[in-house]
Amino acid sequence: MTLLFQLLVNGLIVGALYGVVAMSFVLIYKASRIVNFAQGEFLLIGAWTCWWLLTSWQLPFWIGFPITLAFMLVFGVILQIVVLRPMIGEPIISVIMVTIGLSIVFQAAMKWMFGVFAKPFPPIFASPTVNLFGLEVQTVYVMSLLISILIMAGFGWFFKYSRTGLAMRATAFDQQVAQSLGISVRHMFAMSWAISAMVSAVAGVTVGVVNGVSSALSFFGIKVFPAVILGGLDSVIGAVVGGLIVGVLENMAHYLDSQWLNWGNMYEIAPFYVLIAILMIKPYGLFGTKDIERV
C-alpha cells in the first residue's frame, strides 16, 4: 500500500510537470494555431543552458537560472521570427513538419555539444530529502511541485488580469478583430513563443535537477500529446488536468504491470493507448471546444 501511495505522489509530481509543459504547448497552439513538436527540445535547451552556466561558469543557481530564462525568452522570439513567421498561411502538414525538423536539429545539436550521457546538476538544496506526511520525499520533488503550482497560478493571473494576457486571449479568439482593436498580432505570436520557451525551460531545469540532464528530457515533448489531447487542445485548464491524469495514469499502469501483468514498459506506452482511445471516443478532450471536424 505504501508503494501505491508513493507512486500516486510520484504521479502527481511528474503529472504537474507534464501539466506545465502541456500548458506552454497549449499557449502556442491557442495563440498561433501551430502544433509545436519541438516542445520537448525547449526543456532540453533550457536544462543544458542552465547546467552549462552552473558548471562551466560556476555561477550560483540564483544567477544562472534567471540568465537561462532570459536566454530562452530571446531564443523563443528569434525562433518565431526566423522560422515560424514565414510559415503563416501554409498548410498544416508543412507547419507540423517544420517543428518536427526543428526538434531533430535541436536534439542533434544538443547531443553534439553536450554528449549523449546524462549529467547531474550540482546540488542546489542543502538537505536532499524532507519528511512529508511520514513519507520521505526528495526536496527537489517538493520544490518542483511548488514551482509547477506557482507557474499555473501565474498563468491564471496572466490571462485573467494582465493587459498582455488579455490581448493574447483576444488574438487566440479572433485575429482580425484583435488586430482592429490595436493589438499587434505579430507581437502576440512572438510573445507566446517566448513565454512557452521560458516556462518549458523551468520545467526542463526542474527535471534536470531531479534526474540529471540528458536528451531523454525531450521525451517530455512527446508525452505532452496524451496530456493535451485528454484535456482538449485549446484549453489551459485542460492541459493541467490532462498532465496530472497522465502522470498518475502512467504510474498506476506501472504498478498494475509490475504487480500482475508483467508486460513491461507500460510506464512509457500506457498513455499512448489512452491517447488512441480518446481520439476515437472524444477527440476534443475534456475541456476543448467542439469545433473539430468529424468525418
Partner: protein
C-alpha cells in the same frame, strides 16, 4: 501542396486519354525506358557500395511512395510510417521462418498483413484529419515499436530475427549484384501501379479528398472509405518495402524503426514533392545520398580548423541527424513543392532557351 503544372502555351488536350497519359511525348517515354535499361547494366560496372545505396533507394522509394499516396495525394498526415515498414519486414521474415511460406510469396503476404495493421490504425484516420491524425499516428509509432520489442514469437524480441534470402527456382538473390535486379523490378512495378492508380476513378477521388473534402463529399465520394483506403495502400507499400529490406539484409533488428526513421520518410516526400510520383524517387535518392554527402564534406574539411573546432570525426552521426532536420526545414521554407517542381522548371527553362523571359 498542389503543384503548379507548367504546360507550354498552345498545347491543348482534346481527350481525357491524352490528358492523363503517363508519358506526354514519345521522347519522354523513350528516356524512361533508356533509364531503366541503363540501370539494368549497373551491376556490371558499379562497385558493391554504390549498388547497396541504389538498392536502399529501391526499397525506401517503395515505402516512401506509399507515404506520398497518403500525405501527398490524400492529404492525411502520418508520423508512424517506419513502424509499418518495420512490421512488413518482420511479417515477411515470420511468414517465411514460422509458416514456411516461400520468400517470393512471403513478400506480398507481408504487404497484405501490413495493410491489415494499417487499416486497424487507420480507423481513427477515418474520423480524424490534420493535426489529430498526426498525433494518432505518432501514438501508433510508439505502440508498434513497443510491440516489436515485446512480441518474441513474431520479431524474436531484442535479439532480432533472421530472414532467408529470396530464392526463385533454386536461384538465390543473396548478393548485392543479384538483389539489385529484385529491387529494380519491384520498384518499377510498384511505381507503375501507383501511377496508374492515380489515373483511375479511385485515384482522382483521393486527390479530390485532399483538395476540398467538402466538395468531394458532395460529389458523392465516400470520405471514410477513401481515407481508410489510402491508409491501407500506404501501409501496403510500406510493408512491401520493409519485406524487401528484410530479405536484402537477411536480418531484422527491433531497434531500427524509430520515429527518426519515420521523419526521414516524411523528409523524402517533402524534398521530392508532395503529390508527385517521380518526385518521391528523387526525394528518396536525395535522402540516401545526404549522409554520403555529409561524409564527403567531413573528409573535405578534415584537418582544417573547422574540423578540430567541431570535432567532426566523432560527431558525424549528429551531423547527419542535423542535416536531415535542416534539409526538411529549408525545403519547406524555400521550395515547398520539392525537387519535382524544380525539375519541371528546369525543363521548361531549357525548352524555351534562349528566349525564356
Amino acid at each position: 501542396m498542389a503543384s503548379v503544372s507548367i504546360i507550354p502555351s498552345g498545347d491543348y488536350k482534346t481527350s481525357y486519354g491524352s490528358d492523363t497519359t503517363i508519358f506526354p511525348t514519345r521522347t519522354s517515354r523513350n528516356f524512361a525506358i533508356l533509364g531503366v535499361v541503363l540501370l539494368l547494366a549497373c551491376p556490371a560496372f558499379m562497385d558493391r557500395y554504390w549498388l547497396s545505396l541504389l538498392i536502399q533507394i529501391g526499397y525506401l522509394g517503395i515505402a516512401a511512395l506509399g507515404l506520398n499516396i497518403l500525405v501527398g495525394f490524400t492529404g492525411q498526415i502520418s508520423i508512424g510510417h517506419s513502424a509499418f515498414f518495420g512490421f512488413g519486414a518482420f511479417a515477411s521474415a515470420w511468414a517465411n521462418n514460422s509458416l514456411g511460406v516461400p520468400v517470393a510469396l512471403a513478400i506480398p503476404l507481408a504487404g497484405v498483413m501490413t495493410t491489415l495493421v494499417g487499416l486497424l490504425f487507420g480507423m481513427p484516420a477515418a474520423r480524424l484529419k490534420g493535426l489529430y491524425l498526426a498525433i494518432a499516428t505518432l501514438a501508433a509509432q510508439y505502440i508498434l515499436q513497443d510491440f516489436f520489442a515485446r512480441a518474441d514469437w513474431f520479431t524474436g524480441g531484442t535479439a532480432g530475427t533472421i530472414a532467408e534470402p529470396l530464392t526463385v527456382f533454386g536461384f538465390a538473390f543473396d548478393t548485392d549484384e543479384r538483389f539489385f535486379y529484385v529491387a529494380l523490378v519491384a520498384l518499377v512495378v510498384m511505381y507503375i501501379i501507383a501511377t496508374n492508380l492515380m489515373r483511375t476513378r479511385d485515384g482522382r477521388a483521393l486527390v479530390a479528398v485532399r483538395d476540398h473534402y467538402l466538395s468531394a463529399e458532395i460529389m458523392g465520394i465516400n470520405l471514410t472509405k477513401y481515407r481508410t483506403m489510402s491508409f491501407g495502400i500506404s501501409a501496403f507499400y510500406a510493408g512491401i518495402g520493409g519485406a524487401l529490406y528484410a530479405h536484402y539484409l537477411q536480418f531484422v533488428s527491433v531497434e531500427g524503426f524509430t520515429i527518426l526513421f519515420s521523419i526521414q520518410f516524411l523528409g523524402m516526400i517533402i524534398i521530392g514533392g508532395l503529390g508527385s510520383i517521380m518526385g518521391t524517387l528523387m526525394g528518396t535518392a536525395f535522402m540516401v545520398f545526404l549522409p554520403e554527402a555529409m561524409q564527403a564534406l567531413t573528409k573535405l574539411v578534415s584537418g582544417t580548423a573547422i574540423d578540430t573546432a567541431l570535432n567532426l570525426k566523432d560527431n558525424i552521426a549528429f551531423l547527419r541527424e542535423m542535416s536531415i532536420g535542416l534539409v526538411i526545414i529549408l525545403f519547406l521554407v524555400f521550395e515547398p513543392d520539392g525537387l519535382a517542381h524544380r525539375w519541371k522548371q528546369i525543363k521548361a527553362y531549357w525548352k524555351l532557351y534562349p528566349f525564356s523571359h
